[in-house]
């Protein structure tokens, strides 16, 4: 029903809209009833009120129905979340290091970059490390977020189906330049990716400066 660049978009957005529909329904019902009662039973039109102490059937109804509805929401949320925690065995592993206020990505062949290149339609697992304080790795377009905490081996994984360039942001407050701790994920077809990785690797043995400048953050 919902499609997007990453494998999580569908389940996250489905859960989002399930909750949205239920919430909007309740908000409309409550607001409409309030306004309607205030107009219909205003003192002018209805000078004498009627005492109604309660109604157990009603109370049970509006306890049980919302309980069922929230359990449904919970289930959508849980199912969507569960898949985020199980990175497939065959995932390509990249080490991500966060520090005040930059990201570094290290591939298994030793190549380092400050822009994250990943292959299209491949399972990618990012192991998250922090050198100093808490950060959070956040790619809104992928529906991926995880805190990056020192000495704690958090990870995220994803599988991207659309090439392009997507923002990486830091989502956990980390001091002065927190709002400038951006990078990019660049998703390219596997062949191009392999070519890039090899090239990088060759460059690395030639010279020490391998990082790609990514000062521009906007699309």
């Amino acid at each position: 029903m919902f499609s997007g660049p990453s494998n999580f978009v569908e389940s996250v957005d489905t859960a989002f809209w399930v909750v949205m529909v239920i919430s909007v329904f309740f908000l409309v019902v409550i607001t409409f009833s309030m306004v309607y009662f205030v107009i219909k039973y205003s003192r002018k039109k209805n000078p004498k009120a009627e005492n109604i102490h309660g109604n157990v059937t009603l109370e049970v109804t509006w306890t049980v129905i919302p309980t069922i509805l929230v359990l449904i929401m919970f289930w959508y949320g849980w199912v969507g979340y569960k898949q985020m925690t199980e990175a497939p065995e065959d995932s390509m592993v990249i080490d991500v290091t966060a520090q005040m206020w930059k990201w570094t990505f290290k591939y298994q062949n030793g190549v380092q970059a400050d822009t994250l290149y990943v292959p299209l339609k491949k399972n990618v697992r990012l192991n998250l490390h922090s050198l100093d304080v808490n950060h959070a790795f956040f790619v809104p377009a992928f529906r991926v977020k995880k805190d990056v905490i020192p000495n704690r081996n958090n990870f995220v994984w994803f599988n991207i189906s659309e090439t392009g360039s997507y923002n990486i942001m830091c989502a956990e407050y980390c001091g002065l330049n927190h709002s400038n701790m951006y990078s990019k994920v660049i998703v390219i077809p596997e062949q191009n990716f392999n070519f890039w990785l090899e090239n990088k690797s060759r460059l690395k043995s030639g010279s020490q400066t391998t990082t790609v400048k990514t000062d521009t953050v906007s699309n």
Binding site: F8, V12, V19, S23, F26, L27, I30, M34, F37, V38, Y41, S42, R43, N46, A49, E50, N51, I52, H53, G54, N55, L58, E59, W62, T67, V70, L71, M73, F74, Y76, G77, W78, V79, G80, Y81, M84, D132, V133, N134, P140, K145, K146, D147, P150, R152, N154, N167, C170, A171, E172, Y173, C174, G175, L176, H178, S179, N180, V217, S218, N219
Partner: protein, 552 residues
């Protein structure tokens, strides 16, 4: 409710609490008074001053964010301002707002007591409150500047930061103690000092919610006190409790912090729910719908609310079991809140509704709190929370609950009890105009944050990507409308203290709880004779007598 028990005073009038000065005169008669009503007023004045400071910081933040890049301040200043905005609004305005001001003033009167159980401790708690507040604000002037950690003081950043984090930690520590003492006082007072005949189910609903709140204050606040002290110890001595560089665990800090700070959310909202439960039957002139369900839902919220703290940490890397349990408990805590909203709405049914200013604010509360509560469901939904956690979606959500909920609850309480407290009436038309400015401004300010949060705008950002500009721009315009509303509202109330119509009626709104059975303003000792209670708080017997007009 037992009007026969309260003798109407003839010639010999007891001095009101405003006239009775005790030992001193002028200011001294206020700051040395142990009268719960005078302490309530002390809290009101100091709290509104802190609120004004918090509003100014909020205004400056919004102004900075009106356009990308630097507008009026550098990032360091911005980080300090959002920290102070949070600390002031949470610890100095929203938490003490209703219990310390209106709870102190009205709790003893509503249960038919002459004062709280420990009047001196009550005064001590105000001194702690003011000292803590001043310490937090004065830390701006010290070298190094005020803390820049956010009000959450997350370790390791709060251990590394070069700013005066220790002062702010101490300020929060003192404010915590103030809150514990108030809670202790209220628990004891409600247990021991109810008027004869006032059984638990004859208590007004605001007392139920203050009682539930007081237990959370007593049980949860010590945890934050100790935790913040441990962070201070960590900063001084490098013990290594939380700092990973020394082998500590930063996630342990987050657990300890939220074990208090999530229940604190219910310390903030429950008393406001109590105020709404008082106002609606009075302005609908009928019994409350589902008294017991509202009363027990307060207890339910306090109990469940203490077991959901880790939903603030869904992205921190908990076990699947942890995520599962905390998500499901989070959903369950929504149920008692929903029960309250349904019962309030049902109380309007077949009422005889007078749309006075307090009811405006109370209905505004229900609408804004409903949005706040329903958006909480998005964050309880694990998959969705991964996207919206630490974005402006969360900022919008908690402002809808804390400001749209508790803030509007405080405004409702001010308009409801102002005439009783000061024996003056404010301009009701101006109060309604102020409401519409506040309501429109509030939604313009905070609603865009939901949208940009879902689209991926992280919170605590000094600068942002151009695609979020339009939302930030609308939001800043909203802040101006909101502040206009605040200015109209407070001008109206403050002006009425001197120029408002003088009131002598005991019962201006037609309420049936005990505060409307004592003179206006209340005498020094509240009751000449302690009343005997024979009925519930919202009986409205006149509705059952045919052909009889309302009896005052």
């Amino acid at each position: 409710m037992a009007s026969d028990a309260i003798a109407v005073n003839g010639n010999e009038k007891e001095p009101s609490y405003l006239e009775y000065t005790g030992k001193g005169r002028g200011l001294k008669s206020w700051i040395t008074s142990t009268d719960h009503k005078r302490i309530g007023i002390l809290y009101l004045c100091s709290l509104l001053l802190f609120f004004a400071v918090g509003v100014v910081f909020g205004f400056l933040m919004r102004l900075e964010l009106i356009a990308p890049g630097r507008t009026i301040m550098d990032p360091q200043t911005y980080n300090q301002i959002f920290t102070l905005h949070g600390v002031i609004m949470i610890f100095l305005f929203v938490i003490p707002g209703i219990p310390a001001v209106f709870g102190n003033f009205f709790l003893p009167i509503l249960i038919g007591a002459k004062d709280v159980a420990f009047p001196r401790i009550n005064l001590l708690s105000w001194y702690l409150f003011v000292s803590g507040g001043l310490l937090a604000i004065l830390s701006i002037t010290l070298p190094g500047g005020s803390a820049d950690t956010g009000w959450t003081f997350y370790v390791p950043y709060s251990v590394r930061s070069g700013t005066n984090v220790t002062y702010t930690l101490f300020a929060a520590f003192m404010l915590g103690f103030s809150s514990i003492l108030t809670g202790l006082n209220f628990v004891t007072t409600v247990h021991r000092m109810r008027a004869p005949g006032m059984s638990w189910f004859k208590m007004p609903l605001s007392i139920w919610s203050l009682y539930a709140t007081a237990w959370v204050q007593v049980l949860a606040t010590p945890i934050i006190g100790i935790t913040l002290l441990l962070v201070a110890v960590e900063r001084w001595f490098g013990v290594g409790l939380f700092d990973p560089a020394l082998g500590g665990d930063p996630v342990l800090y987050q657990h300890l912090f939220w074990i208090y700070s999530h229940p604190a959310v219910y310390i903030m909202i429950l008393p406001a729910m109590g105020v709404v439960s008082e106002i609606i039957p009075v302005f609908a002139r009928r019994t409350i719908f589902g008294y017991k369900f509202i009363a027990f839902s307060s207890i339910g919220i306090a109990l469940f609310g203490s077991l959901v703290w880790a939903h603030h940490m869904f992205t921190a890397g908990m076990s699947d079991t942890g995520q599962f349990v905390f998500s499901i408990l989070t959903f369950l805590v929504a149920i008692p809140s929903a029960i309250k909203v349904f019962n309030w709405t049902a109380t309007l049914y077949k009422g005889s509704i007078e749309l006075g200013p307090p009811l405006y604010y109370a209905l505004g509360f229900i609408f804004l709190f409903s949005i706040g509560g329903l958006t909480g469901l998005f964050q309880g939904t694990l998959a969705v929370d991964i996207q919206v956690h630490d974005t402006s979606f969360v900022v919008a959500h908690f402002h809808y609950v804390m400001f749209g909920g508790t803030g509007f609850g405080i405004f409702a309480a001010m308009h409801y009890w102002f005439p009783k407290m000061f024996a003056r009436m404010y301009n009701q038309k101006a109060a309604k105009v102020a409401f519409w400015f506040l309501f429109v401004g509030f939604n313009t300010l905070y609603f865009p944050m939901f949208i940009m949060g879902w689209l991926g705008m992280p919170r605590r950002y000094y600068d942002y990507l151009p695609e979020f500009h339009i939302y930030h721009f609308i939001s800043t315009i909203g802040s101006w409308i909101l502040i206009t509303g605040l200015i109209i509202m407070f001008t109206n109330l403050i002006r009425s203290l001197r120029k408002g119509k003088i009131l002598t009626e005991q019962n201006i709104w037609g309420g049936e709880t005990l505060e409307w059975r004592v003179p206006t303003p209340p005498p020094h000792e509240n009751f000449e004779h302690i009343p005997t209670i024979t009925e519930g708080p919202y009986e409205y017997k006149q509705n059952e007598e045919p052909q009889l007009e309302e009896v005052k």
